[in-house]
């Protein structure tokens, strides 16, 4: 067979159409499935523009300290979850992080209204459970698009240094699902220590038992025998972090890991709606934290506490906010990783 002449316009047109189709498919993939808002848009918004003021830091909960310890299981949760870390007698290492919720790592501790505790539990089989918990038990909105809108309103106005309260008030008035969050904010009194706060999973998850049955739960970390005092109205910028260091000089701090089990009909996929206080509580075990290291260069700074990193025996719920946290944490982590590679400390 003799090769056809190289000048074959019909052939060239077919080739051109085929490669245009393929290239178009590749170029549009990001947008076809992307949805609104995308992770990059969202992170731009919470960092207040395309450039961050604080390279190398987390885009939220920027000011923190690494903390180490262990979790010892009571065994009480093993009826609901098959994860080895909940079996009676299990003891696993913890890599955690206390933080204040602002995106500014220089924000004075007592001015930030939300505090957080993140924990990574590593099982002997190598699986890891990461959880990023906060002082509020609920979230103000139930979808990423609404949170995107709210994040813009929460940014301080450059003129006054504070968010525009009338616009925020208007947002909450038109979003009645934020009522539980508002109620918490009015009742909440910040304490004088990271060690005397209660930290909540906010989102619900599904525990999976040995038979494969699923049990919707939320969890919270509660202080054990720690004398609580209200936070002073004002204090040094590093008030909470110094207090933690002083306290650890006296000995380890301890928390209980408590799971709250939903009843049939409780909202599982909506982080704005709390469950009735009468729901059963299961004490899954004791968290003992005894040692901190600065976050810069520390072990907790190498990782991101993506709440979708779970062990077999815990599954995510279909809560859209929970699912969005995965993409948002990944984008924040990607950006600060590249900034650190480029020399940020």
């Amino acid at each position: 067979m003799k090769p056809a002449p190289v000048h074959n316009p019909r052939g060239w047109i077919k080739v051109g159409m085929a490669i245009a189709l393929l290239a178009g498919l590749f170029l549009s993939a990001r947008f076809i499935m992307g949805g609104f808002p995308g992770a990059a848009m969202f992170i731009d918004r919470i960092q207040g523009g395309e450039q961050t003021r604080f390279p190398g830091y987390r885009r939220a909960h920027a000011k923190g300290v690494c903390i180490f310890g262990r979790f010892e299981a009571s065994g009480a949760l093993s009826a609901l979850s098959r994860a080895p870390l909940f079996r009676q007698g299990a003891s696993v290492p913890l890599l955690g992080r206390f933080a204040t919720a602002d995106g500014d790592p220089t924000a004075p501790d007592l001015r930030v209204p939300v505090r957080s505790l993140a924990l990574a539990f590593t099982q002997p089989d190598g699986q890891q459970w990461r959880t990023a918990m906060n002082t509020p038990p609920v979230f103000p909105v139930s979808s990423p698009a609404e949170f995107y809108e709210l994040a813009a309103l929460m940014k301080p106005d450059p003129a006054t240094g504070k968010p525009d309260m009338s616009k925020l008030g208007q947002f909450f008035a038109t979003h009645p699902e934020s009522a539980a969050m508002g109620e918490w904010q009015r009742a909440y009194r910040p304490s004088a220590s990271f060690a005397t706060e209660i930290y909540h999973s906010i989102n619900a998850f599904l525990l999976v038992d040995g038979e494969g049955r699923q049990h919707p739960v939320r969890w919270q970390v509660e202080p054990i025998d720690a004398a609580r005092a209200d936070a002073p109205a004002d204090g040094p910028p590093d008030f909470l972090f110094s207090e933690l260091a002083d306290r650890l000089q006296q000995g380890p701090i301890r928390f209980r890991l408590v799971f709250v089990v939903a009843a049939p009909g409780d909202p599982v996929d909506d982080p704005t709606r709390p469950w009735p206080a009468s729901r059963p509580r299961i004490d899954a075990g004791t968290i003992t934290l005894d040692r901190t290291t600065p976050q810069q260069g520390g072990a907790c700074d190498q990782i991101t506490y993506d709440p979708l990193v779970l062990v077999d025996g815990i599954r995510p719920s279909a809560d859209p906010i929970l699912q969005a946290r995965g993409g948002a944490y990944a984008e924040s982590y990607r950006r600060r990783a590249i900034e650190m590679l480029e020399g940020a400390q």
Binding site: A4, V15, F26, A40, G126, Q302, I303, G327
Partner: protein, 182 residues
């Protein structure tokens, strides 16, 4: 000039990997910026499929060393012969770099890769955010480069088939029952 085909094993591996690689590139590009509820599940499948791609690529390379590829047409200009070789090497490199950088990224981020059945892949590196920054950049940039290479590869193959009709396209698209060493 007799009609020459790639061996059946090579054609099977080529088309299996072609489907997997294109799916993975499309899935990766669409999930990377997503906040959607399907993202976490997509990421799990992306990791499992990536490992399978790595295994198949290694089998493919071992298989490729067993035979001599069908000759290119004798009238092909030298620069096109060279381009074909460079393209082939670049495609093999991209097929290796994508799953390896993906696996190493998980180690650098300290995230265990859990396979179905609860098996945990060994970490290739220790958790290190700067290394993650490097690997994540490589994974992203090579994915775009890979897409460009695939468009070029498909364009060149179709030009052989639809413009020159010289049998080069047919050596890989030939029916499974047709010719070639095993």
């Amino acid at each position: 000039m007799g009609r020459e085909y790639y061996p059946r094993s090579a054609r099977l591996l080529h088309w299996t990997l072609a489907v997997m690689v294109v799916s993975m590139l499309l899935l990766g590009a669409s999930m990377v910026d997503s906040l959607g509820i399907w993202r976490a599940e997509a990421l799990r499948w992306h990791k499992w499929t990536g490992l399978l791609v790595l295994i198949l690529v290694m089998i493919r390379i071992a298989n490729r060393l067993r035979f001599r590829a069908p000759d290119l047409p004798a009238d092909l200009p030298g620069w096109q012969v060279l381009a074909a070789r460079v393209m082939m090497i670049a495609l093999y490199c991209a097929m290796l770099v994508m799953p390896l950088s993906g696996w190493m990224m998980q180690g650098a981020a300290g995230v265990p890769v859990v396979l179905p059945g609860g098996w945990v892949l060994p970490d290739l590196v220790e958790p290190d955010i700067r290394l993650y920054g490097l690997l994540r950049s490589v994974h992203g940039l090579v994915s775009w480069l890979f897409m460009v290479l695939i468009v070029g590869h498909v364009g060149a193959a179709l030009r052989h088939g639809w413009v020159r009709s010289d049998g080069v396209l047919n050596s890989m698209t030939g029916r499974f029952s047709q010719g070639g060493q095993p």
